[in-house]
């Protein structure tokens, strides 16, 4: 009787631990997702202020027509689309520097480039952290015995944040 009770207690503790582990993994994903959003907002701010600064620098040149970006962060797909748009804008800003050596050599443009680069690195870090957490969670919910607990808690696999495919596309620039 005592042995059965002991086994039962051990099983209950194990189930609680696994459930807590799964919940913790889910919270980690949410934290990482908010990290992506913070990085996206930061990058959006830097890119829009860079565009304004660039327009100021090019007031004597022909009009700069870089499409303005819109910050959307609902689903992962919308985040990916926003990111793709931001990458395009970033490439356009850097291309302006390549086409206008006097702008490229200015200290303010160098500072803009540095800020954009730093935002890009932060975003990459947030994306990698999110995907690492998603990978860990997805592994947990398909491995036995935590898969049983995950089924009981109606947990399903999470979507990765894919952001590389659009980089293969060519970028069109209108100056």
């Amino acid at each position: 009787m005592i042995i059965v009770l002991a086994i039962l207690v051990i099983v209950v503790i194990a189930v609680i631990q696994m459930a807590n582990g799964l919940k913790r993994a889910e919270v980690k994903i949410d934290e990482a997702l908010s990290g992506i959003d913070v990085a996206l907002v930061k990058r959006y701010d830097v890119l829009t202020s860079s565009l304004d600064a660039l327009k100021g620098l090019m007031k004597f040149e022909k009009e700069l027509t870089i499409e303005t970006i819109e910050l959307r962060k609902g689903t992962m797909r919308e985040r990916s689309e926003t990111l793709a748009k931001m990458d395009q804008t970033q490439s356009q800003i850097f291309a302006v520097g390549e086409n206008y050596p006097q702008i490229k050599s200015s200290e303010s443009f160098k500072e803009l480039q540095r800020q954009i680069q730093d935002c890009e690195e932060h975003l990459q870090a947030a994306r990698r952290a999110y995907n690492a957490n998603v990978s860990l969670f997805n592994q947990k919910i398909v491995s036995f015995p935590s898969s049983l607990i995950a089924n009981m808690m109606n947990m399903c696999s999470k979507e990765f944040f894919e952001a590389e495919s659009h980089k293969k596309e060519n970028v069109k620039i209108d100056l």
Binding site: A32, G35, D118, E121, H122, A125, R128, A129, A132
Partner: protein
């Protein structure tokens, strides 16, 4: 001054010391012989002999000259703004990094700092041990013995991050109840080689880019000894636990070109770390 002149001068000083030491050796031999008839007298004579050798060894400027002329000349081949001092890192400085347990016995010497392509570095030999006495038994556990190097790291971050090679002493740098967590990176080989502890997962991924992780794996293959890398307040601390005490002037063997090559090898540890981790590029 040319290397040959330095070598010649140092060898002359070394020979003088050896000649002086020769007077203490009969004292030690006599002490050992006396030990069988009168242990107290024997012990005193041996102790006196060793004391005299110690005084001769470390008096005079042989050690200082070795470091100030020979070691400095090798450093000057690679670095600028070189500063040397006998003392090493303060205990408080090392303790505050929380990279490894400091133990109750701490020593650090041979601090050298300089610049390499605009990157400032400081290095010292550090030894940290825990000496425990239980009755007549004394147990010494060495937590760390080797090179401790600090470099500029121009990436801006506020959190704490520590990357330890598996097998490096100490576990979680913050202890069980701290906010420092263990993270898994996406590189499986990296996870098998190193353990990552930090206070922010985002900063861990920000600093440890895929390329930087590859560089750390490369660094691990290059050096003998366990590695620990700490990222603290825009500085990178690289610890190599190799049980070596560098830049010690030899007494019994001649100082020659081989000695210069040996110093050069130790000095190039610094340049290899900076180059391998692309610290200049960053």
């Amino acid at each position: 001054m040319k290397d040959n002149e330095i070598l010649q001068r140092l060898n002359e000083k070394r020979k003088k010391i050896l000649k002086r030491m020769a007077f203490a050796i009969p004292l030690i031999i006599l002490g050992v012989l006396c030990f069988f008839t009168s242990p107290m007298v024997g012990a005193v004579l041996v102790f006196l002999g060793i004391l005299i050798i110690g005084i001769i060894r470390y008096s005079g400027d042989y050690e200082k000259d070795y470091k100030e002329s020979l070691v400095r000349s090798v450093f000057e081949r690679y670095f600028t703004d070189i500063k040397m001092q006998d003392a090493g890192f303060d205990y408080e400085f090392v303790e505050q990094t929380r990279l490894i347990p400091c133990g109750n016995t701490y020593s650090s010497d041979d601090q050298i700092s300089g610049m390499y392509h605009g990157i400032h570095f400081t290095r010292s030999d550090v030894c940290m041990q825990q000496v425990t006495r239980t009755g007549k038994t004394t147990t010494t556990t060495t937590y760390f013995s080797g090179y401790w190097m600090v470099f500029d790291f121009p990436k801006s971050f506020t959190s704490y991050l520590c990357v330890k090679e598996r097998g490096f002493s100490g576990g979680n740098p913050g202890g069980w109840f701290s906010s420092i967590e263990k993270f898994k990176m996406e590189n499986e080989l990296f996870n098998r080689t190193y353990q990552v502890y930090g206070s922010s997962q985002h900063d861990a991924f920000y600093i440890l880019t895929p390329h930087f992780m590859e560089s750390l794996l490369e660094l691990n293959e290059k050096f003998y000894g366990d590695l620990c890398i700490g990222f603290i307040e825009n500085q990178i601390h690289v610890l190599i636990d190799n049980h070596e005490n560098s830049f010690e002037a030899p007494l019994l063997r001649e100082i020659n070109e081989e000695e210069i090559r040996s110093i050069d090898k130790q000095v190039r540890v610094i340049t290899r770390i900076i180059d391998c981790l692309n610290l200049v590029e960053k």
